[in-house]
């Protein structure tokens, strides 16, 4: 049996190195691809120019634009995917996603209101973030019982899920209301925000800070998440502070989701499909699943965004359309296999 645990560690290392290399390859690919493609041979020179802060060639300028967009795609996809893994563990439901509790609907209300009144971009971001935070506060107050620790944790998370679903549909009603009364000229930007779009995304350090903090929390809790995923409430008899873990998962996945929708709108399916596919490929053990899904989610969104800006170039698609078009059939296929 000596080899069993070593094999596990080896498999984890190989998988993660592979995914890391894949992410780098995706980054280079999205740097090369576009309406004007840069040959692979020119990439090192262009990169060198960028690093020295001078962009004299077209290649360097293009690479700068594309790379910063790809990097924000990566951090957004990674955040959504990690939030999906955490939400699925919290609700003990492999079909949950980061939006299931209505955080994105809350963000939409905020962002659309700001867009409707034509506020500046940073106001839209702040309003989106505020909307998501408001919904999670409401959830916390209304479904406190499910998130409480100790002996009261016997009730499962059905109240949380139902409250989230109701809040979500309430927010969507407000969204519909705003869309129906908004002036024609603003509709397009409002709809694009809702689909999820990376064209306006800039390189920022805040999403990275949130992602790294959340990843540290998730890795620290990975063992406990396994025990809770397996034993539900009885996890307490294995020494897990179920209430505290649920609260942690709730707030950290909420922060990730809020951060992701703030920078790119509510991009669908990434937080559902990527954790699901990763669980299928590497197994449900959170110690490997968490880093694997984070890397894969980032790479997936980078590729999807590259496709979104090249598929019908020079026109750009919102990336949410691409993820949904890829996500829906893949998900149906997996669901079908699951049922068998």
């Amino acid at each position: 049996m000596h080899s069993f645990s070593r094999n596990l560690r080896q498999r984890a290392t190989i998988t993660l190195i592979g995914l890391l290399l894949f992410a780098v390859a995706c980054l280079i690919f999205s740097g090369m691809t576009g309406s004007v493609s840069i040959p692979l041979a020119d990439i090192p020179a262009a990169l060198n120019e960028l690093l020295h802060g001078q962009q004299s060639t077209l290649a360097a300028t293009l690479l700068d634009l594309r790379a910063s967009r790809a990097v924000s795609a990566f951090v957004t996809g990674a955040a959504l995917s990690l939030a999906g893994v955490m939400m699925q563990a919290l609700l003990r439901n492999p079909l949950a996603d980061p939006y299931v509790l209505g955080l994105s609907a809350g963000a939409s209300v905020g962002a659309l209101a700001a867009l409707m009144f034509m506020y500046a971009a940073w106001v839209v971001d702040a309003a989106a973030f505020g909307g998501a935070v408001a919904v999670s506060m409401m959830l916390y107050v209304l479904a406190r019982r499910d998130l409480r620790g100790g002996t009261a944790a016997e009730a499962g998370t059905s109240q949380l899920l139902l409250t989230g679903a109701i809040l979500s549909s309430g927010c969507m009603a407000l969204v519909t209301l705003m869309l129906s009364i908004a002036p024609e000229s603003r509709l397009r930007s409002m709809v694009f925000w809702m689909i999820g779009d990376l064209s306006g995304a800039q390189m920022r350090w805040m999403p990275w800070l949130v992602l790294i903090g959340a990843l540290a929390f998730a890795l620290r809790s990975a063992r406990a998440m396994n025990v809770m995923a397996l034993h539900a409430e009885a996890a307490a008899t294995l020494g897990i502070r179920v209430g505290a873990l649920r609260k942690g998962l709730f707030f950290v996945s909420g922060l990730l989701t809020a951060s992701a929708v703030t920078s790119a709108g509510s991009i669908g399916f990434v937080g559902l499909i990527v954790p699901h596919a990763c669980r299928f490929a590497v197994g449900p053990d959170h110690r490997l699943l968490i880093p694997a899904a984070t890397l894969a989610g980032g790479s997936f969104l980078m590729l999807a965004d590259t496709l979104a800006r090249t598929a019908i170039a020079p026109q750009q698609l919102p990336v949410g359309v691409v993820t949904a078009l890829i996500g829906a059939p893949v998900f149906l296929y997996q669901l079908h296999r699951l049922r068998k």
Binding site: R92, N93, P94, A153, V227, H231, A236, G239, R287
Partner: protein, 258 residues
């Protein structure tokens, strides 16, 4: 004293299930909790496991009130087998059993080879070692139950709390699982408290029994004292006959007055 209760009261809504239960379980004893459906057996078991707060009185383990134990230390003292399981994710059998080693490593990310050795040994004891790589969601009810008991054994605690361990097991495995539990008590000084509906099986493996009436009343004692036909008939609400078969007592419901 291993585990005990002091003036313990448990309620389901307004209904008083158990009132003023003063009960002591000593090391090496094997207790069966017997009562009708809804008499509060599982509620009591959850209270003993610390998953449910008492409505009065308290539970203590090793002389210390349950509420005063840190959860991780408690997890090295007692293991709990829930009545039912819902498997949401496709963990393998071996991963399920390894998760029960959680209380033994706070600061390690992966399990070590000792944990694997213990997990495999537990699976072998439950005759499910050949299922180690299987997805738990594909197991039959009885196989899943034996994997759950194997996980409990891997947790390696002095006290075992089992809510219907014989659930879904075939006849042969009911007997073998019960014998393993009785042997753990006899030979390794472990303590077991279990719920069961098969009186004959309970009588053959237990040293003691706790009867619950469901209206607050209870009776605890050595099996020879409490597992008598008239007492059981009263507590189970149905006449029961006891037949001696060699050294064994066979309990059968009396059908004529049914």
């Amino acid at each position: 004293m291993m585990i005990g209760t002091c003036k313990l009261s448990l309620k389901a809504g307004q209904r008083q299930l158990i009132q003023d239960l003063d009960w002591l379980v000593q090391e090496g004893e094997c207790w069966s909790i017997i009562g009708r459906n809804g008499a509060g057996k599982s509620t009591l078991m959850r209270a003993l496991a610390g998953l449910r707060a008492p409505d009065g009185g308290h539970v203590s383990l090793g002389g210390r009130e349950l509420a005063d134990w840190p959860l991780d230390e408690l997890a090295r003292q007692r293991a709990f087998l829930a009545q039912s399981r819902s498997d949401a994710f496709s963990y393998s059998v071996i991963e399920t059993v390894l998760s029960a080693r959680h209380p033994y490593h706070d600061n390690r990310y992966w399990e070590n080879s000792d944990d694997h050795a213990i997990a495999i040994k537990s699976l072998e004891a439950m005759e499910v070692a050949d299922l180690a790589a299987r997805d738990v969601r594909t197991l039959s009810g009885g196989e899943r139950q034996r994997v759950a008991i194997a996980a409990m054994l891997a947790q390696d605690t002095p006290l075992l709390l089992l809510d219907e361990p014989a659930n879904a097991l075939d006849l042969a495995h009911q007997v073998s699982v019960m014998n393993i539990l009785a042997r753990l008590c006899r030979e390794q000084g472990k303590t077991a408290v279990m719920i069961g509906h098969d009186l004959t099986l309970a009588h053959s493996v237990s040293t003691h029994a706790l009867l619950l009436k469901g209206d607050g009343r209870w009776l605890a004692g050595a099996k020879a004292e409490v597992m008598q036909a008239d007492i059981l008939s009263d507590y189970l609400g149905h006449p029961i006959d006891v037949i001696q078969h060699g050294t064994r007592s066979i309990f059968i419901p009396n059908e004529e007055t049914a």
